[in-house]
Amino acid sequence: AQSVAQPEDQVNVAEGNPLTVKCTYSVSGNPYLFWYVQYPNRGLQFLLKYITGDNLVKGSYGFEAEFNKSQTSFHLKKPSALVSDSALYFCAVSPGGATNKLIFGTGTLLAVQP
């Protein structure tokens, strides 16, 4: 079965420090992976996706993610965290087939302290 796991419910980081939000996946075919962010009382905003090619994917707001096939991971990273990055982050996988649905991880709350 296709799935994603976000092992950390919450990540705390000081402003200006690098941040990593972890995601591992399990798929039977090619992995198509996405990161979304949800600010309080808002909808989900797309950050970036991995389809194929370069393992380092750059996205919105200075975020990037590293695809690692051997470790089946797709960790979200940012070199220098901002307080405004504090939000709920979701990793998702598109399982493929005839339909396009997203299977989401459980979410990781990122708290950036000033």
Partner: protein, 115 residues
């Protein structure tokens, strides 16, 4: 201009009532979705429509009935509301049904509270 919009933003109602949530997208996409986010923030797909045709129904109770009058609109009607239906419902859209790499764009959500 809002790409994916939903109305209402908040919906408070009594058990047993029937209610509807509306969704519209102005992105020209062919495919629209409904997702449910529960109290623990877990997101799960409910339905997907491609150009007015149902293509995904994820074992959702038949009290939930999506309706797509045209490919820019996907409404969700819920009959006989139950306490467990309380959640945030998100509408989303993407370019095409078979586009497994297409980005899905989400609406702002509708917070449904059943009393």
């Amino acid at each position: 201009d809002t790409a994916v919009s939903q109305t209402p933003k908040y919906l408070v109602t009594q058990m047993g009532n029937d209610k509807s949530i509306k969704c519209e997208q102005n992105l020209g996409h062919d495919t629209m979705y409904w997702y449910k986010q529960d109290s623990k923030k877990f997101l799960k797909i409910m339905f997907s429509y491609n150009n007015k045709e149902l293509i995904i129904n994820e074992t959702v109770p038949n009290r939930f009935s999506p309706k797509s009058p045209d490919k820019a609109h996907l409404n969700l009607h819920i009959n006989s509301l139950e306490l467990g239906d309380s959640a945030v419902y998100f509408c989303a859209s993407s370019l095409s049904a078979g586009g497994i790499t297409d980005t899905q764009y989400f609406g702002p959500g509708t917070r449904l509270t059943v009393l």
